[in-house]
Symmetry: C2
Subunit: 256 residues, 2 copies
């Protein structure tokens, strides 16, 4: 009898809480606030039921699970770290519970796993071996900011951080401008929080004043602010101090 | 006294259900299944509370709200249609309740509003007038398929439908291949369901056999399947009939 069959036999009506053996991708909160504001009941149910977790940081993952449900018995769970220091050979063994008919969940530090974190390597390993991969709904700063920007969502690109080296950075901004104009492609990128203000100053100086910039800060958090203005408007907001560009996580979108 | 103040005064402890005047972007379900599988409690709460809705199709929007909460009094709600036939001048008046201190919600036909539907024009109008825009968490086939693909999520582009005209289509596939190779950018696109199989046959014929294709069908639905294989593997799956390419909504991702 498989773990799933046993579970279903034991639980009858509640068999829905029996998880099929799959790699579940479990989003995490991105900001302070209620967990139920950003996670559907199904994601919370999976988090409560899975016993094997792959995480970037064990301490924050434990804290997240306790926030989800204070009654969770953390000591009964297994946690394996997958971060940028993990050797490639150490990744496939993290899928071992699947072979035994048990579920494994990947949790990211913030937002959707396997989008901008090492979880993608584990997903790729699961796909190569033909294991089922189940993504769960949760907050994505990329999609939430795109929705609220008013920009083209039929064509968009996310490119992570801008290059730091000045010539490469300038070339990237030029190419993004070209893709906005010729492909009507919304350009989305991020910056380390303490450089938010400098980045906007730089965009104001480098790009045409009529180009539209959307800055989304503290998405899903208590000070959430998602504002679209032409760069000429951002220039004024920088000058009069009204630009909401504190040292908190932000995401930037350009379009025209 | 504003509508928000009145509501808060009247409800006391339950003041959380009083909505500030903002344009709420309310995702909808994408497939059959429980609403609580894909929408957080907060999104359901907002849907129950808002009185002014902007929708693509009134009948499906009403059905969606009834599925969310059968006790909702649909007759007390206002519905305004925003679709591809809406004249640009008819869009700003849809924001009128905001000036009166009331909330407005945009609901899409499936998934996240204002990503690939006319809702983006209403969001742009709200941003131009300085109204608050609040995106709510829900299912996005783009993000869910990207999470489960195992592909690069640090850099990706969604480009909607491929061009239909053969020369433009071939040029687009060539440019996507270039961006995968030179920018390590995951390429995401869609196709009308009845052409799923033909599209995969076309990709198998046009692109190198080692390139990776992820096909995600019926995301969040009962027959959800998200499979990544090299094109050589898809070729075999097409031949032996094991490729899950029914006439249901699918999204396609390429990477190498």
């Amino acid at each position: 009898m498989s773990a799933l069959d046993e579970c279903q036999a034991a639980r009858g009506e509640a068999a829905r809480t029996c998880l099929m053996p799959a790699l579940y991708l479990l989003p995490s909160t991105m900001a302070d606030g209620k967990v139920t504001d950003v996670l559907p009941a199904r994601a919370i149910e999976v988090a409560r039921t899975v016993r094997h977790f792959v995480v970037e940081n064990i301490r924050t993952a434990r804290r997240f699970l306790k926030r989800l449900d204070p009654s969770i018995d953390i000591s009964a769970l297994s946690f394996t770290v997958l971060d940028e220091h993990t050797a490639p050979d150490d990744i496939p063994p993290m899928l071992a519970p699947l072979a035994g008919g048990e579920a494994v969940a990947v949790v990211s530090e913030a937002g959707c796993p396997a989008i901008a974190d090492p979880g993608a390597d584990l997903v790729a390993a699961a796909q190569r071996r033909g294991y089922k991969v189940v993504p769960l709904v949760g907050p994505s700063s990329i999609i939430l900011s795109l929705m609220a920007s008013g920009f083209n969502g039929q064509s968009f690109a996310f490119s992570g951080y801008l290059p730091v080296e000045p010539a490469a950075r300038s070339a990237r901004l030029k190419e993004m401008t070209r893709r906005i104009r010729h492909e009507r492609q919304t350009q989305i990128f991020i910056e380390t929080p303490y450089r938010n203000r400098r980045l906007v100053e730089e965009l104001v100086a480098a790009l045409p004043p009529e180009m539209l910039l959307c800055v989304a800060v503290d998405i899903t958090g208590p000070s959430e602010s998602i504002i679209t203005m032409p760069l000429s408007g951002w220039k004024r907001a920088l000058a009069d101090g009204s630009a909401p560009l504190g040292k908190i996580p932000a995401i930037f979108l350009l379009f025209s």
